[in-house]
């Protein structure tokens, strides 16, 4: 039973189903308590489809050309692959029990999955969906991000209070540095110069250089910063404060918080639209998504999704 058969079937399925009217980009929101993924058409900001995904979907990543969504399923210990053209779940990949953080490399060749229990990151070939290697990192690895040039993978090690930098040419750890208390979400800028790490327990953001992990700044935010994303040509950083029901806006030049935007209850995942201006926030408690205009710093829309919307990762297609 090889992958080729699956591919052939997937192709047949595609041919059979009438393709959903697609107008890019879409936001894919994991609803952990509903075992589903809500697909939001960002042109209308409406949920156009809800895809059943068992295993308590939590983390999310998109292939660079947006043909696939990868959703981590901690309960079934692995991740599911959704074909975005058909809205069908086309594969389930078994890894290990604590699969949560997930990222796809910008070249589309690799998927990385952090295992919360085993202190490792599985490196999965995006074509064959086979594990190519497993990297031992710090304790309870959570957020993952790959530098835009595919050179480095950064891992937030929650219980080790550190970030590991993995050299993707050698597939080995190059450097590990201490950050704030319990780092969780992690973001990289488009130029590949800085990474921003949300520390859930010390209520701050650590700013590091991408190459040498030099600590540039620690920025105080609010209660339980969970994840972060950049907008407006990397000039603004948006951070979900989970226990505060808000998003902190940081000016990346002054490295200070410049605004605090109330959103829904227990905001978690956060991603920037390809227009670089709208920021989408998944509110876990409310089961909604707030859309923020990065220019006016106002919530422009609130979209009903499903129970326990987490969307931890990059969830909007480019």
């Amino acid at each position: 039973m090889g992958f080729h058969i699956l591919k052939a079937v997937a192709l047949s399925v595609t041919a059979f189903l009438s393709p959903i009217a697609l107008a890019q980009p879409f936001a894919y929101i994991t609803n952990q308590l509903d075992d589903s993924v809500s697909v939001i058409d960002t042109a209308s900001n409406k949920v156009v489809e809800t895809i059943k995904v068992s295993g308590k979907p939590a983390g999310v990543a998109l292939s660079p050309n947006a043909d696939k969504v990868y959703v981590s399923t901690p309960e079934t210990g692995g991740f599911s692959v959704i074909d975005t053209k058909t809205g069908q779940l086309i594969n389930k990949v078994a890894l290990s029990a604590g699969s949560l953080g997930i990222a796809a490399s910008p070249d589309g060749k690799t998927i990385f999955v952090a295992d919360w229990y085993k202190n490792q990151v599985s490196v999965v070939d995006a074509e064959t969906l086979k594990i190519s290697t497993q990297l031992v990192v710090g304790q309870s690895p959570s957020g993952l991000v790959v530098s835009p040039d595919n050179r480095w993978l950064y891992v937030a090690n929650r219980l080790s209070n550190s970030v590991s930098q993995i050299d993707l040419t050698k597939m080995s750890i190059r450097n590990t540095t201490i950050v704030g208390m319990h780092p969780f979400g992690i973001a990289v800028d488009k130029k590949g110069e800085r990474i921003y790490v949300a520390n859930v327990q010390s209520d701050d953001i650590t700013v590091l250089t991408t190459v040498n992990l030099k600590n540039i700044a620690t920025i105080k935010v609010n209660m339980l910063p969970y994840a972060a994303t950049l907008a407006l040509n990397d000039t603004r950083l948006f951070v979900t404060n989970q226990e505060d029901g808000s998003v902190s806006v940081i000016d990346t030049v002054t490295l200070k918080e410049m605004a605090l935007i109330p959103v829904g209850d227990k905001p978690e995942g956060i991603s920037t639209h390809s227009d670089d201006q709208h920021v989408y926030v998944a509110n876990w408690f409310d089961g909604t998504v707030s859309v923020i205009d990065a220019n006016t710093l106002k919530v422009t829309e609130t979209i009903k999704t499903g129970e326990g919307s987490r969307a931890f990762g990059q969830f909007i297609s480019k």
Partner: protein, 187 residues
């Protein structure tokens, strides 16, 4: 071509074989109640973080300081045991506050998977909650929300420490508290 649905089913049968293990998933509970009393009056009953005499499950309470972030209260339960909570957010204007459980005493010790496990008095882990009062004319709505994990943080929990035990216990705390609050406010 007619065979395709069968092929898909067969394929999924193989593909859905997964590891039989469970990672904890954050749970939520919410209870709301409408009270036929003005919001000021209702807020007046619950506004002191150091006073939880409005909850029927609480025997007594001690707290470290006034209604400010970082204040710690220790609840002694009528059923025995203690819960320590820290005030994380206090918003007088919006009649709301949020807090976290930082410590709990053990209700009982069980043996599970060959190890001794302490079941906490509230069978949850990493518990955070908020309570707020909203005016609706001359009455008010109180919403009490909590987010938490089950008490057992590894795979395959015992019954006393699984999601069902956590959800049942938390909903009971919220529900009985709000019902008593309503009774007190409507007196």
């Amino acid at each position: 071509m007619k065979k395709i649905p069968f092929i898909i089913s067969a394929l999924f049968l193989v593909l859905t074989t997964t590891v039989n293990a469970h990672g904890p998933v954050r749970q939520k509970a919410e209870q709301d109640i409408t009270i036929n009393a003005p919001a000021d009056k209702v807020w007046g009953i619950i506004k002191d973080f150091g006073d939880m005499s409005w909850h029927p499950g609480i025997k007594n309470i001690t707290n470290s300081k006034a209604n400010e972030k970082g204040s710690v209260r220790v609840l002694t339960l009528k059923s025995g045991g203690t819960i320590t909570e820290e005030l994380k957010k206090y918003d007088e204007k919006n009649m709301s506050y949020a807090y976290k459980i930082t410590e709990m005493s053990t209700l009982k010790t069980i043996t599970h998977a060959g190890a001794e496990e302490h079941v906490p008095v509230l069978p949850v882990d990493n518990y955070a909650a908020s309570i707020d009062v909203t005016a609706e004319g001359n009455s008010s709505v109180v919403a009490w929300k909590a987010g938490y994990y089950r008490a057992y943080t590894n795979n395959n929990p015992p019954d006393e420490m699984n999601e069902e035990a956590a959800n049942t216990a938390v909903n009971e705390v919220l529900k009985t508290g709000l019902e008593n609050l309503k009774a007190l406010a409507e007196k």
